[in-house]
Symmetry: C2
Subunit: 357 residues, 2 copies
């Protein structure tokens, strides 16, 4: 079956995304989507753009959208790279900045796509063990041989590193690129984007899939020095000239232009998260101090895989990772207040039923 | 400026796409887009899909769309791979089937993205010289060491190889993958897809950007044996889980479901092409026998770069390649009948003006 496969195809160990089920009554808390629709301006922009222009190629450079993002972060357009979801931006970053023979570092508990990219592109990696409380040992990331990639907040732990800690890692790797994967940063405190003009080795990657409710559109971006952005553009233009389609470009730009809506939704999710954490604590769950739009929880009396299966049976989909250290945790996306009330109610019911059995 | 670049970033020689200008009165005949809008059903599908679902990830596997394509070609869904434009499908194919150390072959005059992929992934290549009339020397593609990639019809020449010639190349490379890049096949005669069940080393790549008027949506696909498709899926799932967004999936599927519209538009373009060729011949142009939605032309008395510039000044954008052997040719997309009448009229004017100068 592998007769015609290249060595790259043979060594690949593909990522397995969370289930994308289409069950209408399911409460879907498994892939950290935003429970609220995007800004109504997104749909208006898509309508305007789509009808007359679908037959024409999109802009290969997306300059207008890059300018919009740039001004949001006090940067210039040539300090912004845009891609088909932050996963694609990450893939181009592994190609552009990491090297066979030079080991990169990331935390032992983190986004499971990093080893997939590293294996694909034959880049050696060191998985830095996290502490027992899942916190990241900052100093262990100093002086890497090949570069660092670190999500902040981390996934699936939801834990956040303070800006000073991020800065220390960037500063202590002056000859390597440090990638801060900020997919969830809008639900936390401070982004590392403020450090970009200070450190030319810092690349910050963000996405419109979470805080801007656009998981369905596939738009991510990277912020960094012109030299880093140039390298990413070279990768993209050696791979696929038009990575973001017309509708996605128009929609994502409209989402950035509606800052008020973005703030409203983000604040609502943060408030729901804090409520949910309090209620989960009341059910005797151990909940990590989340700065993301998901919580990472375990229970002293109920195994995570039991809870996962029981919740799924009653129509609530969460995410369970069969991995050492975290196999007794569930990652639960913060949905609407009503979603979380349903979750709590179902959990109460499940845990009582289990008592009776 | 390249301090942090990987060896891959340094060796890359990016592709330069055709100009995507946004000048409303420009007749755009430079990037082989379809002059007609896609089926009205495309826009209906996008509307239905977009409004309620943008916040949710698309299907990572696109099974429904794969089934739709499969049934169009008498294949099964696991013989179909879908990607973000045929350029992305080509990139994954280079990763999955070609190998550093084993030279691949493609024609010396062809789609200029092939050497870009090969350089990026460090795959050696042999550019097989085309004949003086730009036709492809079929036997020179037999017994390649590392694989073959061949567009049919070829670009920018517009020349078509008969199915028997394609089959001979596939047959004479039993241990290598032969990729037939059929971006323009719907304007020609026979697709190589009918050979897929006979040869497990054949991969056919097509796009919705040309005959289905969806250049703005970025959807391409590959058809081949399950083993080849599996390798492509492994590459995609090691690179980006969700390469096609919700709107593009819905729109492209709707385009496939409206076969009558597809046939109508394709036949209209073929008729316009034949009319345009006759009129260009009458102006003493040398026009290659096109089986694509573009024509490749030169003139004994007027240099191609002069005509390119003169046409651009009067609002008609064509494509001129500054490359040995073809620098005296223009590639002109087949637009509407009215577009082509405008082209002829402007050319008559330009060629007279030049007479007077």
């Amino acid at each position: 079956m592998t007769k015609f496969w290249s060595s790259m195809a043979k060594r690949a160990e593909p990522y397995v995304p969370g289930l994308q089920l289409n069950e209408p009554d399911m409460i879907k808390l498994n892939t950290n989507e935003n429970p609220y629709a995007p800004s109504p301006k997104v749909w208006e922009a898509i309508q305007t753009e789509a009808a007359p222009n679908l037959r024409l190629y999109p802009s290969p450079t997306g300059d207008e959208f890059r300018s919009t993002i740039a001004s949001r972060y006090g940067l210039s357009a040539d300090e912004v790279f845009i891609g088909n979801g932050s996963d694609e931006v990450l893939a181009f970053s592994f190609m552009a900045f990491f090297e066979p023979g030079k080991p990169i570092r990331y935390p032992s508990i983190t986004y499971s796509f990093y080893p997939v990219y590293a294996t694909l592109f034959d880049i050696p990696f060191e998985e830095v063990p996290v502490h027992k409380d899942f916190s990241v040992p900052v100093e262990a990331f100093y002086h890497s041989a090949g570069g660092v990639i670190l999500p902040n907040p981390n996934a699936p732990t939801s834990l956040y590193l303070e800006l000073e800690q991020i800065e220390a890692i960037v500063e202590k790797n002056p000859h390597q690129v440090v990638i801060i994967d900020e997919a969830y940063i809008d639900f936390a405190t401070e982004s590392a984007t403020t450090l970009i003009h200070k450190y030319d080795n810092l690349l910050v990657i963000q996405t419109t899939s979470k805080s801007r409710s656009l998981a369905g559109l596939r738009v991510g971006y990277a912020l960094g020095s012109k030299s880093l952005i140039n390298a990413l553009i070279r990768m993209k233009d050696s791979f696929n000239s038009y990575t973001i389609d017309r509708l996605a470009l128009a929609g994502a730009q409209a989402a950035f232009e509606d800052e008020a809506y973005f703030i409203e939704v983000t604040e609502k999710i943060i408030a729901t998260r804090e409520n949910a954490i309090a209620k989960m604590n009341a059910l005797n769950f151990h909940v990590l101090p989340s700065k993301a739009n998901f919580i990472f929880v375990s229970h002293p009396d109920f195994k995570a895989d039991f809870l996962y299966t029981a919740l799924r049976k009653v129509g609530i989909l969460t995410r369970h990772f069969k991995q050492d250290l975290i196999h007794n945790y569930l990652r639960i996306t913060v949905g609407t207040e009503e979603d979380m009330d349903q979750l709590i109610e179902k959990l109460q019911h499940i845990m009582k039923l289990d008592d009776l059995m």
